[in-house]
């Protein structure tokens, strides 16, 4: 093998890459929180008796689940751009991942809703609680436990999905920063190897954090 590794320049740009990692986390957390909220609404809409509402929710869910995430980001970035709605790669990525998260999680939550027994709702209603307080205090907390592993997975997915931003020209997230460095040095393997390590660490921290959170939250 005639290749000589050069790790020094990579280590020198580590601060830059860590900064990129923080942008990655920022995007993933944003897309996950908004996506979760949307997913709950989508899951409720899917169960709704209003035909239009459940149809629209169904289209969202199926498109998100049956087309590539990269396609969804492209559609927002190039598609909306062509309609005259200029959009930054950053926003396109956030919207794209949010759309994707919402679709996948809505399906998870639909299963979660049916895991909460009807009798629980009946008991809450018999105490004079309205539909919204019942959802908030009784159904959602119990659903959270059932769906927690899936939520954790989706969070890891969100972190990994942020790497797609580079394909539409995002330069500030970890993959974007790495690609920028790669372009000027051609030290592809070294830079992307370190980048891979950082992604791995982020995924693992996320999983461990989720496990601690579950241990704290679900003591019943």
């Amino acid at each position: 093998m005639s290749y000589t590794f050069q790790w020094r320049p990579v280590l020198r740009s580590l601060p830059e890459m860590l900064w990129g990692a923080s942008v990655t986390l920022e995007i993933a957390i944003m897309a996950m929180s908004v996506g979760t909220a949307l997913a709950i609404l989508l899951a409720l809409a899917k169960r709704s008796n209003l035909k239009i509402l459940s149809r629209l929710a169904g289209i969202w869910i199926e498109v998100a689940r049956n087309t590539p995430a990269l396609f969804q980001i492209y559609w927002i970035y190039f598609g909306l751009g062509s309609l005259g709605i200029g959009i930054e790669p950053y926003s396109a990525l956030v919207f794209g991942i949010t759309f994707n998260n919402a679709g996948y999680l809505a399906e998870t939550f639909r299963g979660g809703f049916s895991a909460v027994p009807e009798a629980q709702i009946r008991a809450a209603r018999s105490l004079g609680m309205g539909a919204v307080p019942t959802l908030w205090h009784i159904v959602l907390p119990q659903m959270l436990r059932v769906t927690f592993p899936a939520l954790t997975n989706q969070m890891v997915w969100s972190i990994l999905m942020t790497s797609l931003g580079a394909v539409v020209g995002l330069t500030s997230d970890l993959t974007g920063v790495t690609q920028q460095l790669n372009v000027v040095t051609y030290r592809t393997f070294e830079y992307f190897f370190v980048s891979a390590c950082l992604y791995y660490v982020m995924s693992k921290i996320c999983t461990i954090f989720a496990r601690l959170l579950a241990w704290r939250l679900f003591r019943y």
Partner: protein, 217 residues
């Protein structure tokens, strides 16, 4: 031809060519990933912990690093070791290992879901370990994990879109090439999305159907 646009029949054929590349890469990767996944899965389910755990940990890396980064790294081997492999080979190996990482855990969970009593019963009839695995455990486990395996394969199909990064012209990249000529990204992307949807949705439905039917039994 479409809505007075300059999109021609040839462009649609070009898109379909891209779709065929997508399908070909998917099939090759899923085949490789499934073979490796079954082997690794059996090891994960049955071997001693000092074999099973390191293997599990190693495969976990592939699930915790973005596929795009994995593709770039695999691709960089080409210039590092002067391999001169085609991007297609790299894409299939990379996606295949990625698939195997997920498939292994599927197979493992499936094998562990087969009741030990059933396996012991088969062994008590005088079957060898291998005979028992082939004729009892694998068929039962297949039934358990098949719906998830369909989900995994469809996931791989969607993930093939990333190989455009290493220069392969698959479905999504084809749509971009046409866009640069026709200048109607929204229309072309929507058609592209429709093609993806048609490739994925019916199979996803089949998987969900099988899952429900097999759960009842």
């Amino acid at each position: 031809m479409f809505f007075d646009s300059s999109l021609s029949w040839n462009d649609i054929l070009f898109l379909l060519d891209g779709a065929i590349v997508t399908i070909a890469i998917t099939l090759a990767s899923v085949a490789l990933g499934t073979i490796l996944g079954v082997l690794f899965g059996l090891v994960r389910a049955g071997a001693l912990w000092w074999i099973s755990w390191p293997l599990g940990g190693a495969l976990d890396i592939f699930r915790s690093v973005p596929l795009l980064i994995q593709l770039v790294l695999f691709n960089s081997f080409n210039s590092m070791f002067r391999l001169h492999w085609s991007p297609y080979v790299i894409a299939c190996i990379c996606l295949g290992i990625y698939t195997a990482a997920f498939c292994t855990e599927l197979v493992r969970s499936g094998v562990l879901a087969v009741p030990p009593a059933t396996r012991r019963a088969a062994r008590s009839l005088g079957m060898s370990w291998w005979q028992e695995v082939v004729s009892i455990t694998l068929p039962m486990a297949t039934r358990i994990v098949f719906p998830s395996w369909i989900g995994l394969s469809l996931g791989v199909m969607k993930d093939t879109s990333l190989v455009l990064w290493i220069g392969i012209i698959e479905l999504l990249r084809s749509s971009q090439i046409i866009t640069s000529r026709v200048q109607e990204p929204l229309l072309i992307l929507t058609i592209t999305g429709l093609i993806y949807f048609l490739m994925s949705f019916p199979i996803a439905r089949l998987g969900a159907h099988l899952e429900r039917r097999w759960q009842i039994q």
